[in-house]
């Protein structure tokens, strides 16, 4: 279990993490979601004792991580996959880490196999692609077969195969009762991976909820209709006590279903050219929630179709 208690980090006057309190439970993948610069990495670094909190505390199994007697058996972490000495072979890197905690050296072979890196074990890390570096980082995190795993933006820069691999990997760990804490700035990715979400913006806690609840609350759905008999249908809807509005040549009806609207149209002999359910995407909901807390707004394309990360346009339809 990971606990943040009023965790606060200031750099001079700038508050990076602002009074964060939450708990990460075992047996689930917990997504740690926020725009770039929200304080996710800083929070994780404080949990690992790399940064000192200005106020508050981060506890791993009830005590600060720096008090762990066998650290790698308690926590495995992957922060930045490129934070590694490229001059070493993958095997030497893993061996040195295993030795530091008195772990049996056969674990090195175990985790190399686990991450599919056995073939390149004796190659120097500087020649590795980002995806391979990520796997080495994950291999290192798994050396102590820890109860708690922390991954900071693990899918960044990975190809679809790598993303799928990491997603399945994290879920299989959670299924085995591990605590899996994974950060991301992509809502769509977290919706697929995490069953619990902790959302932060500008270092502040915005939501601490199950992913399902988050989706239910934030993805308002509606029905859209295209018809040549707009006035007739609008009258019928008003008579039925259903609120509707006209958008982009469609009639939009919130909180209804295609069945109900189709039946209503048939009963009123209205011709329908198009009828479909319209969901606002989770990505939009996430952007809405963090809008005020995004550090660097894009100045170009300020309309809502481009998010602060610039990469969300293609994600919208997925949810």
């Amino acid at each position: 279990m990971i606990e943040a208690r009023s965790l606060t980090k200031k750099y001079g006057d700038k508050v990076a993490v602002d009074d964060l309190s939450f708990t990460v439970q075992p047996g689930t993948v917990t997504g740690f979601l926020g725009p770039n610069g929200a304080g996710k990495s800083t929070t994780m670094r404080m949990m690992l004792g790399l940064d000192h909190p200005t106020r508050g505390a981060a506890l791993i199994n009830g005590k600060p991580y720096t008090h762990a007697t066998s650290p790698m058996r308690e926590v495995g972490a992957l922060l930045d996959a490129k934070d590694i000495h490229g001059g070493r072979t993958a095997r030497a890197h893993l061996k040195s880490l295993a030795q530091s905690n008195g772990l049996p050296l056969r674990r090195v072979d175990d985790v190399l196999e686990l991450t599919g890196m056995t073939e390149v074990a004796n190659k120097r890390i500087k020649g590795f692609s980002l995806g391979m570096s990520q796997r080495i980082g994950i291999a290192a995190a798994m050396l102590g077969d820890p109860q708690i795993l922390m991954f900071d933006e693990p899918v960044n820069g990975l190809d679809p195969e790598g993303i799928l691999w990491i997603r399945n990997f994290m879920q299989s760990l959670a299924a085995r009762g591990r605590t899996v804490f994974v950060s991301s700035h992509l809502m769509s990715e977290m919706a697929l991976t995490a069953s619990h979400l902790i959302v932060i913006g500008r270092g502040r806690l915005l939501a601490d909820t199950s992913t399902q609840d988050f989706i239910n609350q934030n993805s308002a759905s509606g029905v859209r209709v295209r018809t040549p008999q707009v006035e007739t249908l609008l009258d019928a809807l008003t008579k039925a006590g259903i609120k509707a509005q006209q958008i982009d040549g469609f009639i939009q009806i919130d909180g209804s279903t295609t069945d109900a609207i189709g039946d209503l149209a048939a009963a009123n002999k209205v011709t329908i050219h198009e009828l479909f359910t319209q969901r606002s995407s989770l990505e939009e909901a996430f952007m809405e929630m963090t809008r005020d807390s995004v550090e660097y707004h894009a100045t170009v394309g300020a309309d809502t179709s481009v998010g602060p990360n610039g990469s969300m346009g293609n994600m919208g339809g997925e949810l």
């Binding site: 670094r45 690992l48 004792g49 790399l50 940064d51 000192h52 991580y65 720096t66 762990a68 007697t69 066998s70 650290p71 058996r73 926590v75 972490a77 922060l79 930045d80 490129k82 934070d83 590694i84 000495h85 490229g86 001059g87 070493r88 072979t89 030497a92 890197h93 061996k95 040195s96 880490l97 030795q99 530091s100 905690n101 008195g102 772990l103 049996p104 674990r107 175990d110 196999e113 686990l114 991450t115 599919g116 890196m117 073939e119 390149v120 995806g131 391979m132 796997r135 290192a140 798994m142 077969d145 195969e161 799928l164 691999w165 399945n168 990997f169 879920q171 299989s172 760990l173 085995r176």
Partner: protein, 277 residues
């Protein structure tokens, strides 16, 4: 890289689930790290070759010019100390290696993995210091003996060679190894303090090699004091066999250069504990 489906974590049985991480574990880990980068072996080779090479040149040159040497110089001729003169170059190699032990972890970001595996930072620093210090001392002693024996080849013809059994000679040769330890640890300490490779290397080369001769320009008694107690100026007395009036004793000199690295190391340790990684 072919595993596309969910990799099942292997069922793992640790024989001993409650092994506590000890200093010895971390020392073994740092030993592996130290030897698994290529720069280590290269730098140690440079230390050896530069030291023995320069000492050989000096012994060859001095022994060839013996007839032209004035009597005062000849009375003060210290062939053992001359055999250690190559350390003026060798010290730079070991100091750079010492600085890299810590700065390479900070510059690559590897320090995060290190401190995540071993959150006890002073234990990491101590382990690195022990591994590097032992290697520096052992390689330093081997280098000093090699420089000594190669140099003596040139003096034997003049019947001026020193022997390990002569008074002070063994101390001077081992002192050469100790000097390598001190200059290496000076680089290590500045690395711990400065954390940036270029900055630490510049600082240690300046303080060991560039500035010491320049201190002679300082005027007066206090200028002489600074000169005498400045890093390598003080430390090099450990390789002297022939006593020269006015020179500080070998061990006072060695204590002085030891203080030169211990103080920044203690400060670096305090900073390492206090700062964010």
């Amino acid at each position: 890289m072919t595993a596309t489906t969910a990799a099942a974590p292997p069922a793992t049985q640790f024989n001993d689930r409650h092994t506590h991480t000890t200093l010895w574990h971390v020392i073994k880990s740092e030993w592996t790290k130290f030897w698994s980068v290529r720069s280590t072996l290269w730098t140690l080779l440079i230390l050896f070759i530069a030291t023995v090479g320069l000492s050989t040149l000096i012994a060859w040159g001095e022994s060839s010019n013996l007839s032209k040497m004035d009597p005062t110089d000849r009375a003060q001729l210290d062939v053992t100390n001359n055999a250690m003169a190559g350390l003026a170059f060798g010290q730079l190699a070991i100091a750079v290696l010492g600085a890299l032990v810590l700065t390479s972890e900070y510059s690559t970001g590897g320090i995060k993995a290190t401190l995540t595996a071993v959150p006890n930072r002073l234990r990491v620093l101590l382990s690195k210091a022990i591994v590097f210090g032992v290697v520096a001392l052992v390689v330093g002693i081997i280098t000093a003996f090699a420089a000594f024996y190669v140099s003596m080849i040139f003096w034997t013809g003049h019947h001026l060679e020193a022997h390990v059994g002569d008074p002070g000679v063994l101390r001077a040769i081992l002192g050469g190894g100790l000097y390598v330890l001190a200059s290496g640890m000076f680089g290590f300490a500045l690395g711990a303090l400065i954390r940036h490779t270029a900055g630490a290397i510049t600082a240690v080369v300046a303080l060991l090699f560039v500035v010491p001769p320049l201190t002679n320009l300082l005027p007066g008694k206090w200028g002489d004091d600074i000169t005498n107690y400045f890093t390598s100026n003080a430390g090099q007395h450990i390789t002297e066999v022939v006593k020269i009036p006015g020179h500080m004793s070998p061990w006072v000199g060695y204590l002085t250069i030891t203080i030169w690295w211990v103080v920044p190391l203690l400060f670096g340790a305090w900073m390492m504990k206090k700062r964010d990684a």
